[in-house]
């Protein structure tokens, strides 16, 4: 089909009709790729749409003379389009690419500084480390806090889970902290009802007085993730304690 297409004048309606026919025949391929990216926080219809755009691009760019087959050319092209979609859209608000890249740099430098200082850094310390303007760092940090919770690599790290469970087994230690709380009898079963990792993080923060950075290191997740888990657990306990 591509050989036939190559013989047609690119501006002719015959060319367009023939090209559309190729696209139509390959739609199941695009849809199949879209399906592989489902359940990562992007609506299914959007994914199909984006994958199809990738397919159209692949058909337009494919050069039959290279001798490779179309499918092995199209698959990476379509996947690339879908990945780009995730990169551009997994922010809950639209943030310029410059800020997204800054956000990644800030994340890496924060981890390194936390290690060195033994506590979380401040914006000024981070700016010094990256040799950047303080205002720019703050801008990046504030934009970063609107980053969507559902990231493309949001899969859990299983080693961290095991560790979390091991720490959660020591819930007995909570008792000393609970003594100061009047509604502890109501609270205890609710704490036990939390998922292991959420409970561990909550216990370490509120009953063992560890900082979020220390908890992040111990459990093997980022400090931002610790924050999110705490927010989620506190909201749940608030509802249940009503």
């Amino acid at each position: 089909m591509f050989r036939e297409l190559a013989t047609l004048d690119a501006d002719s309606s015959d060319f367009q009709r023939h090209r559309d026919k190729i696209v139509e025949r390959c739609l199941p391929l695009a849809d199949h790729i879209a399906r592989r990216f489902e359940g990562r926080g992007e609506p299914r219809d959007d994914l199909v749409q984006v994958a199809r755009v990738g397919l159209v691009n692949a058909v337009a760019r494919f050069d039959v003379e290279t001798g490779s087959d179309f499918v092995s050319f199209a698959v990476p092209t379509i996947m690339g389009e879908v990945r780009r979609h995730f990169r551009d859209n997994s922010w809950s608000v639209k943030v310029p690419r410059r800020l997204k890249e800054l956000h990644l740099r800030l994340g890496a430098a924060t981890a390194e500084l936390s290690q060195r200082l033994g506590r979380a850094p401040t914006a000024t310390e981070l700016a010094g480390e990256l040799d950047m303007d303080r205002t720019e760092v703050i801008e990046g940090l504030v934009a970063g806090s609107s980053y969507n919770t559902l990231s493309i690599d949001s899969g859990g790290n299983s080693a961290g889970d095991d560790e979390a469970r091991a720490i959660a087994d020591t819930l007995g230690d909570v008792d000393t902290g609970l003594e100061r709380i009047e509604n502890r009898e109501a609270l205890r079963p609710l704490l036990e009802g939390l998922p292991d990792r959420e409970r561990t993080v909550l216990v370490l923060r509120f009953f063992e007085s560890m900082t979020q950075t220390q908890i992040a290191e111990r459990v093997g997740i980022s400090q931002m993730h610790v924050s999110r888990l705490l927010a989620k657990s506190l909201a749940r306990l608030r509802d249940e304690l009503e």
Partner: protein, 144 residues
């Protein structure tokens, strides 16, 4: 209970204090959190302190909103001072049991910040009085 009779007056607030007034609705929590997080970062609190303060604001404001009378306005003041950042949140409540010492909520707030105080304007809930909570986070240098 550590309750002051009156909220801090404008004269006591610093030059960089920021006040935000929103409808006392849960949908507005995100913007309140973001404001406090942005000011905390700008004021050079370390990121643990900023993250803790955001959680504390979430806790306090959710409690206030749940006790607020219909159509109430929630006011939040973020007041950066030399050695601490003070966040004051208040609204018109139909009861004053918003956060009480000894509750889990109180334990959470005192773990997340360095000081927690409540205040009221003395009119009482029957007369649509104001109830508020003040959270204080000390700067890293002046902590502990």
């Amino acid at each position: 209970m550590t309750a002051a009779a009156k909220p801090a007056t404008n004269q006591q607030r610093g030059d960089r204090a920021i006040e935000l007034r929103v409808a006392a609705k849960l949908e507005n929590l995100a913007v309140l959190r973001t404001l406090v997080g942005a000011v905390g970062t700008f004021e050079d609190l370390d990121f643990d302190a900023v993250a803790d303060l955001r959680l504390a604001v979430d806790e306090v404001c959710t409690r206030l909103i749940r006790s607020a009378i219909p159509d109430a306005t929630l006011a939040i003041v973020v007041d950066p001072r030399d050695d601490e950042l003070v966040v004051e949140a208040s609204t018109t409540c139909d009861n004053y049991d918003v956060v009480t010492p000894g509750s889990f909520s109180w334990h959470v707030l005192t773990s997340l910040t360095d000081d927690v105080q409540t205040f009221q304007d003395g009119r009482g809930p029957e007369d649509h009085g104001l109830f508020g909570v003040t959270l204080t986070t000390r700067r890293a240098g002046s902590r502990r």
